[in-house]
Symmetry: C2
Subunit: 194 residues, 2 copies
Amino acid sequence: MPYSAIHKAETRKRIIETARILFNREGFSEVSIDRIMDEAGLTRGGFYNHFPNKDALYAEAVASFLNGRGKAWRDAAGVDPQNADATSVRDMIESYLSSEHLGDLDGQCPMIALPSDTARASDKVRGAYTDLLRAMVWLFEHNGADKGAQRQKALSLAATCVGGMVLARTVGDTALSEEIRTAARASALETLGL
Amino acid sequence: MPYSAIHKAETRKRIIETARILFNREGFSEVSIDRIMDEAGLTRGGFYNHFPNKDALYAEAVASFLNGRGKAWRDAAGVDPQNADATSVRDMIESYLSSEHLGDLDGQCPMIALPSDTARASDKVRGAYTDLLRAMVWLFEHNGADKGAQRQKALSLAATCVGGMVLARTVGDTALSEEIRTAARASALETLGL
DNA sequence: TGTACATCAGTGAACGCGCGTTCACTGATGTAC
DNA sequence: TGTACATCAGTGAACGCGCGTTCACTGATGTAC
């Protein structure tokens, strides 16, 4: 057993983190395996020791958001999520729709950065994206000011949050971008009665 | 003057329409100039008689939505938009968030199909995307049940409509997809007081 | 009305380039003795 | 404790392929006579 098992696992993790950042910044097809491996301090050939193909890395990269900025979602869920208070959800929404998140191209939520890339990707990638959405909706369902808010409210809230950030990110005009972000935030907080 | 001026204009239009459909279906970088020209019944070389480069075609394709399905937006605006009644806006929202629109990969709104592609494209493309959004927000601002609805409401409504469709399109799970779409629709109509 | 001609929309071979993936290899490492 | 060895993570040249773009050309067309 040359090299410890930990060594390989750490390399793998480094590749995923590098990929997550590059994908967020430039999109799936725009980032080559060469680029990812190079920025992870490796060479292209080694990639296939860790992943069967590029597509498998997509899914891992999307899912890995919950280890980065997405950790806040776990905090918002709390130890006993059914009884967590609404404060943490308000914090989570304010963070999600913050100008800081809008500017964080590297660390942003993949639901914002990669919607159309994901829609065209494999089932595995779409599954990872769906998991993120489910996590967000779950938070809205279980931790609003009015507990047990209807599911409809939680779903449309997710649409407003993600949609607001997607539009703010895509629009060329900076002033309009800020307008959308703050409007979506205000509307989301109102809906939750926060 | 061989070939009429109309002849060239029609060819150009055919290229744009073909590109719009292919981009909507598969994304910007996934569709080659070769494919577009081939499906338009032409050969690759001729492309540069009509456009300086691929990027210029992007912008035209996004903008051309208002000639297809987006024509409904003009109808919703009405002859004298300030006095148009709210019915047409309700129709427009119901059409935008319909399962038929969700299934219409070719004709769908580019704000749904191409958000992350656009975010990474040139200023011209982003400008065309921004124009579509402005058109939608304008409709919500001027034609709601409560006339002169605040701008904030119109903006967050756009976030809900576009975001709802983006999520419904991206998510792998069909049942969840339908849930999101109908939740966003219900919430949008409620917000407008329709 | 018929024909010769100039125009330019459209053609298709060719360019340099970067892609995802394969594969024979190398050399750093933990283990057995 | 020191050394020989087997393992396998990582290397880098090579593959076939499709991309965006260029360019010398061709041939369908409207016009002038």
